[in-house]
């Protein structure tokens, strides 16, 4: 084994390539640009395509076209770009277009600070779409973790025909770390399910026993319709309230009903714990050290690192909270995911520590929040 120095952004790009991604479009933005740079080295010589969009809206549009043509597609940006992605995120949700979106978060609000980290888009990724239907959001905790998280993101986008966000952070995307590249966790690849019936193809009819429609690509023998309008199974506009309600409920159910099968997390437990720290992303590193220090002093602190953030893995959170009295959510914003944890844990005291000043949350801040 040997080590190599890689940034989180490079690892995301390599994992996307190994997951079968052959189309990338993006607009340059710090701290996400090195994903674009790496994809540009990887895809064109391998028969893939990388486009530099004239803006973020276009970058998403290129990806949606490519995905419907049957290719696995990815785009990457930061908060200001996610703002512009919104209309196409809604499109990808409502019209069930597989797509991976990397948000290398930077300090906001607005253009904020290009080279400072934050996890300020955690609710934005979930709710920044018209209609408010769910998306999947996965968060890597370190550079090596970017590999399996990115592969999972592609698998879930394919399996559930939906946009999947990777909630990275400048502190992961642009941090170099020694990794054993060959030993990074690879997961088996999942591809979208093709229709067994070619003629006539009903583009939004679900597979039996599933809430996900079969996929056929635009451009093959069988005609395929895609539309951003409110549509029936046939892909034509419908005004039938029963059909519309059923479709919208299905879009919600196809993700929320299956959350237990893609609730990725990491736990560290001690006997007789009184406190649970819940965190995600780069803050997991400080939280792990803080919990260790507290447990050395016999404070009895468990740690839950969530890697699936949306839909909220409620069962995982409830089981982890178990009999502890206090729950502390540590995150690099002003208390966004703490709202979800508080909602899930109705009978627990849920506290928050964090903040947005461009610096990492330190282990001592977490230790003080628990000791204080």
């Amino acid at each position: 084994m040997g080590l190599t120095l890689m940034e989180g952004n490079e690892v995301v790009a390599w994992a996307a390539y190994e997951a079968g991604c052959r189309f990338f479009a993006g607009y340059p933005i710090t701290p996400a640009t090195t994903i674009f740079n790496t994809m540009l080295r990887l895809l064109p010589p391998a028969g893939g395509i990388v486009l530099q969009g004239e803006d973020e809206i276009a970058s998403m549009g290129y990806c949606l076209g490519a995905s419907m043509a049957g290719w696995k597609a990815m785009t990457a940006t930061s908060g200001p770009g996610i703002s512009l992605y919104s209309e196409h995120v809604s499109f990808a949700i409502g019209s069930e277009i597989p797509l991976v979106i990397v948000d290398v978060q930077r300090l906001g609000p607005s253009t904020g600070s290009a080279t400072r980290g934050a996890d300020g888009d955690i609710q934005f990724m979930r709710w920044g779409n018209s209609g408010g239907l769910p998306v999947i959001v996965l968060a890597p905790e370190d550079i090596a973790d970017c590999f399996p998280i990115t592969m999972h993101a592609f698998n879930l986008a394919e399996q559930y025909r939906c946009p999947v966000f990777i909630a990275s952070n400048k502190e992961i995307g642009l941090t170099g770390e020694s990794v054993d590249f060959d030993a990074l966790e690879r997961v088996p690849i999942v591809n979208r399910l093709g229709s067994p019936d070619r003629e006539p193809f009903v583009p939004f009819r679900t597979a039996p026993g599933s809430d996900v429609p079969y996929f056929l690509p635009i451009g093959d023998q069988t005609l395929v319709r895609q539309t951003s309008s409110t549509h029936g199974e046939n892909g034509y506009i419908t005004t039938d309230p029963a059909a519309i309600r059923a479709a919208n409920e299905r879009l919600e159910r196809k993700l929320t009903a299956n959350i237990d099968s893609f609730s990725y997390y990491h736990e560290e437990r001690v006997a007789n714990a009184k406190t649970l720290v819940v965190t995600y992303g780069v803050t997991a590193r400080a939280a792990r050290l803080a919990c260790r220090q507290l447990n050395d002093r016999g404070r009895g602190v468990n740690l839950l690192v969530l890697k699936t953030l949306w839909p909220v893995p409620e069962l995982v959170i409830r089981l982890a909270a178990g009999n502890v009295k206090r729950v502390l959510v540590a995150e690099m914003n002003q208390g966004q995911y703490a709202l979800e944890v508080d909602r899930v844990l109705k009978h627990h005291q849920v506290e928050f520590t964090g903040g947005m000043d461009g610096r990492l949350i330190s282990p001592s801040q977490i230790v003080e929040a628990i000791s204080g």
Binding site: M1, G2, L3, T4, L5, M6, W14, F23, A25, P44, P45, G47, G48, I49, L51, G53, E54, D55, I57, A58, M60, G61, Y62, L64, G65, A66, M68, A69, W71, A73, H88, F91, T115, E171, L174, T175, G176, E177, S178, F181, D182, I218, G219, D220, L223, V224, R225, Q226, T227, S228, S229, G235, Y236, R285, A286, L289, R292, L360, S362, P363
Partner: protein, 433 residues
């Protein structure tokens, strides 16, 4: 060839709508070309022109206002054999202006039909980018303040390789569309028509007036010679296949033993142009050559050639949890800009920290061990001071030793760059330096 019109979904435009004749001409053009439904994809967006895809039995992609060209580009690049035809109104043209310019510059083999009826029909007749200033529209006086966009001139200026402006009522419209589809590159046909539901309720516009206005403008229709070039997808594939395949990242073998035990944080405080980030990387590689785990974080302003440049590197025999440095083992003070950005750092360090201070670079009062080095006196340029400071560390056997730095240089550089880097290190290593 059979009609591709969808018999179960006939056009539903207002009586007398100009779009209606274009639907039939487009179908005739498909027949002239002998196209089947599965050879063709219609891409549309919002507005009355966005209904086109439902009238045909072809592949279809209907999306957001003004974005049709972006979807069409993605589809065409992934499916080069497919005929991709976009329909867009003058509304989509305005809101998607950046996409139109990009499409003209790019030259992907997509055909754009602009269904230009000089106003927003669906929302009640507001002005669009092509509404004449003198028209009466639902936007009050606002259109009187704007000049109507001359699409033909704009597209040619932006690099369109095929541009035609035609009347929806002219004879041979199907042939005009057919020619645009046949063209191997981005082709635009701006089709002027009448919106009886909105526009001609308050304005007089007839097929004759449209033809006369077009004659007056006298635009050249067809391929634009000055913009002739290879189609984008073909050119892309040719260039792409000539790129070298990216190789997986190369690992560095762990063969050395670090001179000091434990975890060490090293902070490089320099300025832009001092190759601080590269030195941080070399330090990381040196650590990995001794089997250490490494993290590297960089801090710099987004202006490229001025301001502070800082690298924070952690080397550790075990897993690195919190990737920030509270108490650095070594600080390299290489430029005033970097020192100024981290002044507070000097207050909290003690004699356990080594500061390698380039002469001439002031640092705040500190309890740390200080080693002043006259890099300039050694004849080294400021761009080499970061690497030279690593060599000082190696010479002192602090955190790394010379063999580790040598391995890092061999991993990172080739040819002249390697020779140059080794020369810098030798200068520092020379006895008495």
């Amino acid at each position: 060839m059979d009609s591709l019109l969808n018999k179960s979904r006939p056009p539903v435009f207002c009586p007398g709508c100009g779009h209606d004749v274009v639907v039939r001409a487009l179908d005739q053009a498909f027949r002239n070309l002998g196209l089947s439904g599965n050879d063709t994809c219609l891409v549309s967006d919002i507005g009355c022109s966005g209904l086109f895809d439902t009238f045909f039995n072809t592949h279809a992609f209907h999306g957001l206002h003004g974005r049709a060209l972006t979807y069409a580009t993605g589809i065409k690049l992934c499916r080069p054999e497919l005929n991709v035809v976009v329909t867009m109104g003058d509304g989509g043209l305005g809101i998607g202006g950046a996409h139109l310019l990009a499409a003209c510059r790019r030259n992907v083999n997509v055909t754009l039909l602009v269904l230009n009826n000089f106003n927003f029909g669906m929302t009640g007749g507001q002005c669009s980018a092509t509404t004449p200033s003198e028209a009466e529209v639902a936007s009050g006086f606002l259109n009187r303040l704007d000049k109507a966009l001359d699409l033909h001139s704009v597209a040619v200026a932006a690099g369109a390789s095929y541009m035609a402006t035609v009347s929806g009522y002219q004879k041979g419209l199907d042939r005009a569309i057919e020619e645009a589809i046949r063209f191997d590159g981005f082709a635009i046909i701006d089709i002027h028509g009448i919106c009886p539901g909105r526009y001609t309720r308050r304005n007089t516009l007839t097929p004759k007036a449209i033809s006369q206005a077009l004659e007056q403008k006298g635009h050249h229709n067809g391929p634009v010679e000055a913009n002739a070039r290879t189609e984008y997808g073909q050119a892309y594939r040719e260039l792409a296949y000539r790129q070298d395949r990216a190789k997986p990242p190369k690992a560095i073998e762990a063969v050395f033993t670090a001179p000091e035990k434990g975890r060490h944080g090293i902070i490089l405080l320099g300025s832009a142009g001092q190759r601080v980030i590269t030195a941080g990387e070399l330090l990381g590689l040196a650590g990995m050559s001794a089997g250490l785990q490494v993290t590297q974080k960089n801090d710099y302003d987004i202006t490229v050639l001025r301001g502070p440049s800082i690298a924070e590197v952690i080397l550790s025999p075990g897993e690195i949890d919190y990737p920030a440095i509270d108490r650095p083992s070594v600080i390299l003070a290489l430029a005033p800009e970097g020192v100024a950005r981290r002044r507070a750092l000097f207050e909290r360090i003690d004699e356990k920290t080594l500061v390698i201070q380039a002469s001439g670079v002031d640092i705040p009062d500190t309890k740390a061990e200080i080693r002043v080095v006259d890099f300039k006196g050694m004849g080294l340029k400021a761009q080499d001071w970061s690497l030279a400071a690593l060599a000082v560390m190696a010479k002192m056997k602090r955190v790394l030793e010379p063999a580790m730095l040598d391995a890092a240089l061999g991993h990172r550089f080739r040819g002249e760059a390697l020779v140059g880097a080794k020369a810098v290190v030798s200068t520092v290593m020379a006895p008495g330096a």
